[in-house]
Subunit: 465 residues, 2 copies
């Protein structure tokens, strides 16, 4: 795979900034190699490009002060949440200062009456949900990893619940951010809607830290549903599973989750978790609502699944049974890894209109087989988003080349189907050429915005563009 290149370094500026910051934050500026490496580490195949230092700010004002110093000397600033992004978003290709937001992890307020809360960017989604549970509230976005909410906003994360609750773009009401000149802005008030000027909230959500650093988020919350039920349903083919998903969405069944596992993933999960699921495509579904509503959803779903030739449909409202039904999904990541110990996982993340999902998944599976690769598939089927997780022997240049070909081929296929090369992981370093293929002239407009707000390109340089 093409590894990220280093960008020109401003060594003089970096040395000056390190000197200033060392004085101001003697205990919180770290320049040890292992901590730096850890902060450039990405979950996938991209090589580490470590920052020159890692600093743990504790307040918006500190972030502003630090960014002003970096701006004065044109030194890169790389925001860091939990390091679970997948496209090299935390790498430092031109060096610079990594701001690790772990210590900005306060839940500042919860407005139960308004179903919103305001948090610092280092708060993780599990931390927030644990805090909210007693109040009968939850924050629905679940990208899998226990990511920080600032990072989730920055990459426009989504995950399993998005089919019902939307993505981060739908669940961030307002952002406080420090801009590239150190100025602090608030993008919106706490009202549920507004037409007051440009939507800077949505501009910062998904900007991957390239326009500013998020220091506070006001998030929409939801009531914990009265009833949650889960279901599992096997299908003879991927097409039958996808047809079911399409019908479910069309009929307006408000599924909270509807996840697709291909036969290879099911096989992997059987082996890893000692289950005995039919080794055919599987849908895992979750229903949220009132007792009667959930029952109705589950019945309607069952009827649609049967019409589409499902073999075996199990549903339950018991928490224990629910966890068992969903075990296949929870273990999928590790089960996939276990398919080929020692291999490196390379995530793909295409998202297509649902009507093209079956075709896209089948084509991907066939191509994987044809190329002799190993790539089990898991998908957020209700959104048309799926991940073919390539398990690659990184010591085999030929296989790496083949995997690279596949990634490009799949992205091109999705784009040709009016889909996107990234449903939820972002562009980062890994997908830059595909952004251009996908949106062309729009990418020029994005770059103009970047240049206008960050003329010296200090905010997370080398990402998106």
């Amino acid at each position: 795979m093409v590894q990220p290149t280093d960008l020109p370094r401003n060594d003089t500026g970096i040395a000056t900034v390190l000197g200033i910051l060392k004085q101001q934050f003697p205990d919180r500026l770290h320049t040890g190699q292992s901590l730096r490496d850890q902060h450039g580490h990405t979950t996938t195949w991209l090589r580490t490009q470590a920052p020159d230092a890692v600093l743990f700010p504790r307040s918006t004002q500190e972030v502003s002060d630090i960014i002003k110093i970096c701006a004065a000397h044109k030194v890169p600033v790389i925001p860091y949440g939990t390091g679970t992004s997948l496209e090299g978003q935390v790498n430092a290709p031109a060096g610079g200062i990594c701001l690790d937001l772990t210590e900005m992890n306060q839940i500042l307020s919860v407005n139960a009456e308004d179903l919103d809360c305001t948090v610092e960017p280092g708060v993780t989604r599990e931390q927030l949900n644990t805090y909210l549970r007693d109040q009968g509230l939850f924050f629905p976005i679940d990208p899998g990893a226990n990511a920080s909410l600032g990072g989730m906003a920055a990459t426009r994360a989504s995950g399993t619940n998005a089919v019902r609750y939307g993505t981060m773009k739908d669940n961030v009401l307002a952002i406080e951010a420090v801009m590239p000149d150190g100025e602090i802005i608030k993008t919106a008030q706490r009202a549920r809607k507004s037409s007051a000027g440009y939507d800077l909230t949505r501009l910062l959500v998904g900007a991957e830290g390239t326009l500013g650093l998020i220091t506070k988020l006001t998030l929409r919350l939801h009531g914990i549903p009265e009833q949650i039920s889960a279901a599992r349903c096997s299908f003879p083919t991927v097409e039958a599973a996808c047809e079911t998903v399409m019908a479910v969405i069309q009929f307006g069944i408000p599924v909270a989750r509807i996840e697709l596992l291909d036969a290879l993933t099911v096989k992997a999960v059987n082996a890893y978790s000692k289950l005995d699921l039919p080794e055919t495509p599987l849908l895992l579904i979750e229903f949220h609502g009132s007792k009667a509503g959930v029952r109705e959803q589950a019945e309607n779903f069952g009827a649609i699944a049967q019409d589409n030739g499902s073999n075996g449909y199990t549903s339950t409202t018991s928490t224990e049974e629910r966890n068992k039904l969903w075990q296949a999904r929870h273990d999928a990541y590790w089960a996939q890894q276990a398919l080929r110990p020692g291999a490196k996982g390379i995530a793909t993340d295409v998202c297509v209109p649902i009507s093209r999902l079956a075709e896209c998944v089948s084509a991907a599976s066939n191509k994987v087989r044809e190329l002799g690769l190993i790539a089990p598939i898991v998908g957020h089927a209700g959104d048309g988003n799926f991940h073919a997780a390539l398990m690659v022997d990184m010591d085999d240049p030929k296989e790496i080349e083949t995997a690279e070909f596949f990634v490009g081929w799949l992205n091109d296929l999705a784009i040709s189907m009016d889909g996107t090369c990234t449903g939820e992981h972002g562009i980062g370093q890994g997908k830059k050429p595909y952004l251009l293929k996908e949106l062309g002239p729009a990418a020029t407009i994005m770059r103009k915005i970047k240049t206008a707000l960050d003329p010296d390109n200090i905010m997370n340089p080398g990402k998106i563009f």
Copy 2:
């Protein structure tokens, strides 16, 4: 009220552009005074600032050609849909060319399987919904007027259904736009979600035509609910009505509409439509869902309303009865006007967190009384958004001054409650000072984006900033 000022005109450029366009579009460039006046006409109190000409383009390419000509001579371009915006969005304070998009009114495709469609900007919401009905689909955003979808996107419109279906920001998947240099961009593909770079879709939604002209929209559609029921419920006080709304939202009852009418509006409607509703605050509600789901929603709502002291709750699933129940809302605009024949309506549009709605509505009513004004209130209560419609004698300078004081006072109050000066009408010309009060430094960022994308300020100048 402070009327919009004229901006410096580029008379030479305008004359040149008119000459070129007259040659290229001899039958579609109009310079007659009455058509020009009509295109600067706004629904409320702002005086007309007519463009120099009105042109009816028929394709994206024509829009691009025209904007390139205007860009070359630094001449303003003002997009026009149906002219139903309320804050002077279609005025031409520096003159220029109004592009009336009436003839770009094709529904280009409907993808029933994906629940989306692609339309030209001049398609109105009623036109679209009539077209979709046979396929069991609808587009939910309903700002009242039969506005064009391009205009609704440009002002980030919402209206009665937003509590359930969101606003234009949530229902536009992708935009094709002509940028200020005439370049054509597409902001996104047709996938339901994407993390591919900056969210230019959401940047153009709500930009009021100041960053580019929308030439195509891909919209999310919804299935027409199996069952729709409506309800009407009177309350002794505005507080009791608002408490009910808050509880409904908190309990997660997925109301499709929940509208508040204050006692004065109910009185006006009684007089106008010969109804005999109790002249106390009224909630009008609509439920969408399955038969059982709608029944459950209506029952739960009724219980909450009763807990909050409602006197009289009527609900029905019959279409005829439903229309009768909602008649009060449908007639509210004209009924309000009839309260004071000859007066000019001045719309306000604050939106606050729901927990502050009762307080904000009560304070507004009290202040109206204290000032001796007439201002019935209608609100999209589920969003915390309401309109106090001032009925002002525009020949009475003292009353105009008082009305102006009230508008400022109400906007300041909403902002102090963490709300916004505009829930759905946009900034236009009328709310520019309040945008600064509301978001301060963020407005500077907006201006930087505007300058980067439209350095000569030709796209709808004098709006937002």
